[in-house]
Structures are given as structure tokens and as C-alpha cells.
């Protein structure tokens, strides 16, 4: 059977021009937004290559006049950046993985087994987010001290897991709710156990949610400062966020160039993490599982 296509009616020139202008406006707005978002990072990068004299100039420039790696050299010489980055990576990575590992089954149960307990749990999650840091830091410190986990990276991981878990649970609940119950019922009819349904059906469909939660937990732990400052005494265990404050002196005086260099390096793991995982974040929910 052959099909004939009639050519689309020509779009009036005025409307075409209007559409192009609209598209141009959209891109211009998007560009402005991107510049707005990228400005701090680009400025940080630019600052990290400037000499102290250029940093003291009243006419700031985007492109350093005499770009140099001196600030990076000073930053690495003055403080143990590599070791602190490794500590941060271990702590943030572990905390994110553990938080998500616990949050997935917990979120599933809270969504699929609706009861008073799960409702109370949801409310508790919300309430726990309202406690200010200063309120819990001293009790937490004492608890960790009793557990002999002060000044240890596992202690800090434990704190980050506890700190991130409520919000991770909250995030994942939304994703679990979006998985059609009919899929799980179909798997159950085929004889799959609850665990099998969770690992074989629900988990693959949660990939975007898992990635989003993983990113959130990782970045929160990577950037966290106060717990790390208070809980880690030994210099060899300090994390990147704590080391960065060592470039700042009394009354806000800072060693600006090396601070910018170290700060820029500190943003790289998060950027890399996003770059690697963002495709999984946006890849279609339910891709391949239900017919469209």
C-alpha cells in the first residue's frame, strides 16, 4: 500500500520570523542563566592563575595577565591537599553508598506498606530535617565518643549517613511511588518473591532516583564542614573542606590565590561525579520496561 504525503502548508514569513526570534530569546535567556551559574566557578578558575599583585588590582580581569601555576604549587606545598581529598572521597563515597543502600528498601517499604508506622516515619523524616546543627552537634559528639569513634573516618561516615538518610529516604519515596504497581503485580504473578520484585523489577526502574540520591548524598558529604572540623582531630584525617579554611586567617584575611587554587580543585570531584552520572539521571524512567 502506498501512501502519499501532501506538502505541509507554508508557514507565513511573519510567523517564521516570530518563531526564530522566540527561539533566539530562549537561547539568549539560557545563555544568561548558564553564565550566571558558571560565573563563580569561572571566576575561581581565573583567580587561581593570578599573581598577588593582579589580585590587588582595582581593575579585575577575566583572563589573567600573566597566568601562573604558582598558586597551585603553594597550595600543595602548604597543606596536605591530596591526602585530604582522598579522605573526603572515601568519606563522601562511603556515606553516599551506605545511605542509598539503606534508603532503597526503607523507601520501598514506606511506600508499599502503608500503615500508621510508615506515616509516622514519614512525619519523623520531616521533623528530623528541622533540627539545627548546633542543637545536635554536642549530643552527637558525646555519642560518638562513647562509641570510640571520635577522630575516625568511619565515625564521620556514620554521621553523614545519619545526616543524609532522612532526605535520601524522602527523595526515593517519590521515585518508588512512580513505579507502576502493576509491574510488581505482574512479576508476583510470575512467581517472583518480594525481594526478587525489589531487586529485579523496582531497582532497575529506580536508576534515575538512585543516581539523584547518590549525587545529593555525595555532594552533601563532600562539602560538609562543621562535623568534620569538630570530629576529626588528627591532621592526617582531615577532609578537604576543613583544609580549605587553613588558607584563611584572622578577620577574614585570606591567602586568596592559593585558596582559589585549592577551592577549584575541591570542586572537581563533584563536577566529575555529575558529568559521569548525569546521563543516567536524565535517561528515561521506565525505559524498556513498559510499552509506549
Amino acid at each position: 500500500m502506498s501512501r502519499t504525503f501532501s506538502p505541509a502548508p507554508p508557514v507565513p514569513r511573519g510567523r517564521r520570523a516570530g518563531r526564530a526570534a522566540g527561539r533566539f530569546g530562549q537561547y539568549a535567556a539560557l545563555l544568561c542563566y548558564l553564565v550566571f551559574l558558571a560565573f563563580p566557578l569561572l571566576w575561581l578558575l581565573s583567580t587561581s592563575f593570578k599573581s598577588p599583585q593582579e589580585l590587588g588590582s582595582i581593575d579585575p580581569t577575566w583572563i589573567p595577565r600573566e597566568p601562573s601555576l604558582e598558586n597551585y604549587r603553594i597550595a600543595f606545598d602548604a597543606h596536605p591537599l591530596a591526602r585530604s581529598a582522598l579522605n573526603s572521597l572515601l568519606v563522601a563515597g562511603s556515606a553516599a553508598l551506605i545511605a542509598v543502600t539503606i534508603a532503597v528498601p526503607a523507601a520501598y517499604v514506606m511506600v508499599r506498606y502503608r500503615s500508621r508506622v510508615s506515616k509516622a516515619g514519614t512525619v519523623w523524616i520531616l521533623v528530623s530535617q528541622m533540627f539545627p546543627l548546633v542543637l545536635i552537634i554536642i549530643p552527637l559528639f558525646l555519642v560518638l565518643k562513647n562509641l570510640q569513634m571520635i577522630n575516625s573516618l568511619p565515625g564521620l561516615v556514620l554521621v553523614y549517613v545519619v545526616w543524609n538518610l532522612p532526605f535520601s529516604l524522602w527523595m526515593l519515596q517519590g521515585y518508588v511511588k512512580a513505579v507502576p504497581l502493576s509491574l510488581e503485580e505482574a512479576a508476583a504473578v510470575d512467581g517472583a518473591s518480594r525481594l526478587r520484585v525489589l531487586t529485579g523489577v523496582v531497582l532497575p526502574l529506580l536508576t534515575p532516583g538512585l543516581v539523584a540520591t547518590l549525587m545529593f548524598s555525595f555532594v552533601t558529604a563532600w562539602n560538609e564542614f562543621f562535623f568534620a572540623l569538630v570530629l576529626l582531630k588528627s591532621p592526617e584525617r582531615q577532609t578537604m573542606s576543613v583544609i580549605l579554611t587553613h588558607f584563611v586567617g584572622a578577620e577574614g584575611v585570606a591567602d586568596l590565590g592559593p585558596l582559589a587554587a585549592a577551592s577549584f580543585l575541591a570542586t572537581l570531584p563533584s563536577l566529575l561525579f555529575f558529568a559521569l552520572l548525569q546521563r543516567r539521571l536524565v535517561n528515561g524512567m521506565l525505559a524498556g520496561s513498559v510499552k509506549g
Binding site: P52, N87, S94, F141, I150, S152, G249, A250, E251
Partner: protein, 442 residues
């Protein structure tokens, strides 16, 4: 294929988790020594590279000479020291030796977290530091820290602009009076291109943190702001106390010899304008010279001048809160910790630390050393001002941090920007302020 991918993903996640836990498990707390060696944690707030090197060298020297008492250097940060110490004290895990400044000692001494050093320090050290410096760390009869570094506020000036204006250059022996300073500021204020706008201001007051300098500089005009009355702290803000604040407000809001825009700046923020001839003089802390030296263009000449005098014998007086070294009440060995502090603050060591931080040592022996008595970078001006430094009136006043944050900072900032006059400032600082202090003295 997809199943294989999923299995790989799961196996990878499990392996990553296991690896993290295994590595972390190896990072546990392993501080305890079984051979009887005492290990003391020294929380240092040194931050500039040369300063950190000086501290670490002294720690190494100590550790080599004292195998039974090892000191571990722990780097802290000025930004968060109060919160860090408060939490550590409450949890009983504070560092043994604590670097801080005198303004933070009162609350910690009052809470019983710091050891009274009376009797723990060698007599030679006690005698080498003047009484007025010891007064900054005294609280209810005890001594809770060794004041070892201090810094006056000075005027950092553009030498060329001063020469072009033909003004007299002040010295600590013959300083400007505050009136003279106003006149010089006017002489230095210029509209160089004749467009009706000021191109060079005589002075730029950086007032992002206005309270400390307003309180400390008021000593030069006989002010005190915090006084004792019937054994209690009270706030006064009479003519003596307000003279410098009034002058600053006059320069900004009436004379136009100081820019309004610098009121929200920190000292560092004013440096680019200083190097570009926008400001001729900057009132800055003595240690700011390091930043000036580092950032100044190669052909830029700058001088260090004393702050103006309020007249009389105490005309150059200003309040300071020295950097201190304290021992935690829970320290493993208080005497050993005090011995380490004595080692750090020996005259020749104090001099190294002072040079590293671009500050002045409190040790009189160190202060008299010829290497500090040089015109280079204005060291001599600072040394000559040392005798005029007094304990900041805020030291020992419980409730001062709350008064500063909630009342004085917004009040001074609004006053300097011309939002209200002197009577309103007096009312806020004194009446509202005394209500705050009362709560701490019930």
C-alpha cells in the same frame, strides 16, 4: 545483556562499598601510646606559610628534646575556633594546648575549661612579658593564657601622595593629633581630573567589623566604653568614648574626606583602591603589612604611621586582644603543656613567630632585638607603639559577644553611614547594651 549489565552494576556497587568500608576500617582512632609517652595535641591557628613553618619547626625541636612528651601539631582555623573549642570542651576531647586570642578566653575560663597557669610557668617568662599584657588573660584572679603576640592598629599610607601633599609625616614620638589627622585627610583628598567627583580620598575606613576598632581606638581619647561599677560591668558612651566615632562619621558624612563605600569593606577589600591612589591612607592592623607587601605593585611606595593621638600621656593608647596560648583543664599533663608553651614563647622563638605572622611579640627581650628594630615594612613604628598598647576594654566582659553582634555592630554601621545621630547611637550602645550585660551578671 541487560541482566548481565545489572549484575555487573550490583557487583561493582557491592565491591565499592566493601572497599570503602575496608579502607575506612583502617582509619580508626589509634592515638593511644602503650609505652607511657605523653602525647599532647597543640591546636595552632597559624595560617601563613612562613608562620606555619616556624611553629612546626619549634614543635619538631621540642619533640626531639623531649622524647617522653610528644606534641602533635594540629592545624585549626580562626574562622571557627570558638565553635570548635566549645564542642570539644563539652565533649571532653579538647586539644591540650590551645592557640586563640584573649577575647575568647573569658567564657572558657568562666566555664572551667581552661587551666589556671599560675605557678606552672617559669618565672623568666612571667617577668619577660609586661603586666599590661598579662592583664588581657587574667580572669577572677587566675591566668588562663600566655599572651605572646599582639598588634596595634596603624595607618598604612601612600608615601608619594603624602609627599605630594607636603604634609608632616608623624612618628610615635610626634604623632598627629586627631584634629591634625582631619586636616591632613582633607589635604590628601583630591579631584584630580576636575570633574567634580573625588578621585582620591584622604582615608578609607573599613568598617565591616566596626566594633573592635571603635572600642579600641576610643582609649586614645580617654574613653573606655566598658567600665566596672560596684563589681559589675557597665557600658558608658560619653564624649571621651564617642570622639573617634564622631570624627569618622564627620569624615564620611560631612567632610567627604573618607568614602562611604568603604564602610562595608574589610581591610583586604580596601587594598586595590589603595594601590590605585583612590585612598591615601588605610587604618589597618599591623599584620596587614604582609598583604600590602605581597599585593603592592612593584613601584608602589608605602609607609607605616602611628594612629593619631588623643593628646596627653595616653594619647597613643589603644586596646588590643593579644594572641594567646592556653592549656585545657582536661590536658593529659598540664605542667608538660605549660612547659611546651614556655618553649614556644622563649624570646628568640617568640621573635620567629612574630616575624612569621607580621605581628609584635609581647616578650620585652624579643621586642628589643635589633632585627625587629628596622624601618623596613614599618617594623620600628610597631615596636615603638608597643608600649602604648593596653588590654582591650572588652576583655573579661561576659556578654560582650552578644552585645557586639546584636547591638553594637548594627548601631555603629548605621551611625557611620549617617542613618542616625550620636544620641541614638548612645542610647543603643548604652541602654540596650546594659540590658544585655545585666543578663550575664545576675
Amino acid at each position: 545483556m541487560r541482566a548481565l549489565h545489572r549484575r555487573t552494576l550490583r557487583a561493582g556497587t557491592a565491591a565499592a562499598l566493601a572497599l570503602c568500608l575496608a579502607v575506612l576500617a583502617g582509619c580508626g582512632n589509634g592515638d593511644d601510646a602503650a609505652d607511657g609517652t605523653v602525647t599532647l595535641d597543640f591546636l595552632s591557628l597559624a595560617w601563613q606559610a612562613e608562620s606555619v613553618t616556624a611553629y612546626q619547626a619549634l614543635v619538631d625541636e621540642w619533640n626531639e628534646a623531649n622524647p617522653d612528651v610528644q606534641v602533635r601539631y594540629v592545624q585549626g582555623s580562626w574562622d571557627n575556633i570558638h565553635d570548635q573549642l566549645l564542642t570539644s570542651f563539652m565533649g571532653g576531647e579538647a586539644p591540650d594546648i590551645i592557640h586563640n586570642d584573649a577575647s575568647d578566653l573569658t567564657d572558657f575560663a568562666n566555664g572551667g575549661y581552661l587551666a589556671d597557669l599560675t605557678g606552672l610557668l617559669p618565672e623568666s617568662l612571667v617577668e619577660d612579658i609586661p603586666q599590661q599584657a598579662w592583664d588581657t588573660t587574667a580572669y577572677e584572679g587566675g591566668t588562663y593564657g600566655v599572651p605572646f603576640l599582639q598588634e596595634p592598629r596603624v595607618l598604612v599610607a601612600n608615601t608619594r601622595l603624602l609627599e605630594e601633599a607636603g604634609v608632616r609625616v608623624p612618628t610615635p614620638e610626634d604623632p598627629w593629633t586627631w584634629d591634625e589627622f582631619e586636616e591632613v585627610s582633607a589635604d590628601l583628598t583630591r579631584d584630580t581630573d576636575g570633574d567634580g567627583d573625588t578621585d582620591t580620598y584622604g582615608v578609607a575606613w573599613s568598617m565591616k567589623e566596626p566594633v573592635t576598632q571603635s572600642v579600641n581606638l576610643s582609649l586614645s581619647t580617654g574613653g573606655r566604653i566598658f567600665d566596672r561599677e560596684d563589681g559589675e560591668n557597665v557600658i558608658r558612651f560619653g564624649d571621651d568614648e564617642s570622639a573617634v566615632a564622631e570624627l569618622i562619621s564627620r569624615q564620611v558624612n560631612e567632610d567627604g574626606t573618607a568614602p562611604r563605600s568603604s564602610l562595608g569593606m574589610s581591610g583586604s577589600d580596601t587594598l586595590p583602591g589603595f594601590f590605585a591612589d583612590r585612598y591615601a591612607m588605610l587604618p589597618l592592623n599591623f599584620s596587614f603589612r604582609q598583604q600590602v607587601d605581597q599585593q603592592a605593585p612593584d613601584d608602589f611606595e608605602w609607609s607605616v604611621l602611628p594612629m593619631p593621638s588623643g593628646g596627653g600621656e595616653d594619647g597613643l593608647a589603644q586596646g588590643v586582644a593579644p594572641q594567646t596560648l592556653s592549656v585545657a583543664e582536661d590536658a593529659e599533663d598540664q605542667q608538660a603543656a605549660a612547659d611546651f608553651i614556655a618553649h614556644l614563647t622563649r624570646a628568640e622563638h617568640a621573635m620567629d613567630l612574630a616575624r612569621g605572622d607580621w605581628m609584635l611579640p609581647t616578650s620585652e627581650t624579643a621586642l628589643a632585638d635589633p632585627s625587629l628594630n628596622t624601618a623596613e615594612h614599618g617594623w620600628r613604628t610597631g615596636v615603638e607603639l608597643a608600649a602604648h598598647l593596653r588590654p582591650s576594654p572588652v576583655l573579661g566582659v561576659r556578654g560582650y559577644p552578644e552585645w557586639k553582634d546584636k547591638i553594637a555592630t548594627p548601631a555603629f554601621q548605621e551611625f557611620y553611614s549617617g542613618a542616625f545621630g550620636l544620641s541614638e547611637l548612645r542610647g543603643r550602645l548604652r541602654d540596650d547594651g546594659n540590658r544585655v550585660l545585666d543578663r550575664y551578671q545576675r
